[in-house]
Amino acid sequence: MDAMAQVLPESLVSLDAALEREFEQRLADSSALAVRVAMGVLRNRADAEDVAQESFVRAYRNFAGLRDREKFRGWLVRIVWRLALDRIRAQKRRERRELAALRQPAPPTVEDVAASREFERRLEAAIDALPEKLRMVLLLAGVEGHDMNEVASLLGLPQGTVKSRLHLARKRLLEALR
């Protein structure tokens, strides 16, 4: 490839360089989003980081073909989501998820800690039982700073659809945990 680069016109070389710079910018802007979405699905720190990194590699491979660069974040979210689900299905890591890293500050008593862990376990099970289209909206809305508009933009859905899906997801969780 180096030999090819030497004979390529300068304009093509600089195009590649521009793509590299743009990708670097996207990497800086969207790393947290990728890790959080992966974490929402996998709930395992190491797996989430790995899937998020792999998602960026996949995105890099096809970055030149992405016509509307403004849709990069939505595109990335879908890549992360698919890879995270694949990871779960392939490796069956549900039982080995690490929860400790993301726990809220421990409640004061042992009973409360136990109750909190039990609640966490039940919440995770209830979220896992949600249909995918509800789960995705719920987790994206849970990512800090994402309002309905942003979730709708990320998923390419009307805002009303996102709102109704989120409401239905919360309602199902409430029914499952009540």
């Binding site: 790393s31 929402g40 995770e124 289209k133 009540r178």
Partner: protein
């Protein structure tokens, strides 16, 4: 106040549990519920418990998705990307013969199949002169089974003009919908759970065969003020199965290729 040992009989009433859940999620308490809560401490406590639970769920989801990338995240991505070829088109050794071979195979296949495709007997069009019955509706996303394609009853024939108008709108909406689908979808959406999907499909088929009847059903599904049916309409809604349908159900369920039923629920004509 769990359901197993509840004190208040209201929990057994249709809609009460639902109203309580909605109130816990949205904070909106309707008049009937408010009246009951004013006099029932048990249900007030249950509402408080549910509202607290809804808050805990929201916090739990937020915690679940609050991870930050590790300090070395970008460096790891760069290292993995460095093993990849540069983005964009890269001409690899071996692609030339593969491409030439592929083009040659396609050209040969086209040359062999061209006479077959030109023969009208192989065009795939129906050859019989007998026409299948046609439903009294404009182009629609689904095939209506012949068994329910009977013409409208005399009573429904009163709505013939309305049917035609609605059918024209249906056709226009179909085209508009197809155009819209290529962009961001903007149709109202109804998600239907698995146990209700078969019923919705039946209703959809009825709506395809007899739009006026379906419009009348929708018009009767709410209580209009002063005994009048107000003209209202949602031009089109998308009805999607909430869970994925099983492979075998595809034959029973007739959604469009993207798996979505699109139903016109305009009741303006039926209301006249």
């Amino acid at each position: 106040m769990r359901e197993g040992k509840m004190i208040c009989g209201k929990f057994r009433e249709d809609g009460f549990r639902e109203a309580l859940t909605e109130a816990a999620l949205t904070g909106a308490v309707d008049t009937t519920l408010r009246g009951h809560l004013a006099e029932c401490a048990g249900c007030r406590a249950e509402l408080e418990r549910l509202a607290a639970l809804a808050g805990a769920i929201d916090r739990g989801v937020a915690v679940m998705t609050s991870a930050e990338p590790s300090p070395g995240f970008a460096a790891h991505v760069r290292a993995r990307v460095a093993e990849e070829p540069a983005p964009g088109f890269v001409w690899r050794r071996g692609w030339v013969p593969a491409t030439v071979a592929g083009v040659a195979v396609l050209a040969l296949a086209a040359w062999l199949l061209w006479p077959v495709a030109q023969n009208p007997e192989n065009s795939g069009a129906p050859q019989t002169t007998e026409r299948a019955p046609v439903a009294p509706v404009a182009p629609a996303p689904l095939q209506v089974p012949p068994s329910i394609e009977a013409p409208p009853s005399p009573k429904l024939a009163e709505h013939a003009g309305g049917v035609e108008h609605a059918a024209n709108k249906l056709g226009r909406a179909s085209r508009a919908t197809a155009a819209a689908r290529s962009e961001t979808p903007a149709l109202p959406e109804v998600l239907v759970s698995g146990d209700e999907w078969a019923q919705v499909v039946k209703l959809y088929r009825l709506g395809q065969a007899r739009p006026a009847a379906a419009g009348a059903l929708v018009a009767r599904s709410f209580t209009p003020p002063e005994d009048k049916v107000l003209p209202f309409g949602i031009e089109f809604i998308q009805i999607k199965p909430l869970e994925a349908t099983k492979p075998g159900e595809r034959e029973v369920n007739p959604p469009a290729p993207d798996g979505v039923l699109r139903m016109n629920v305009d009741s303006k004509e039926a209301a006249r």
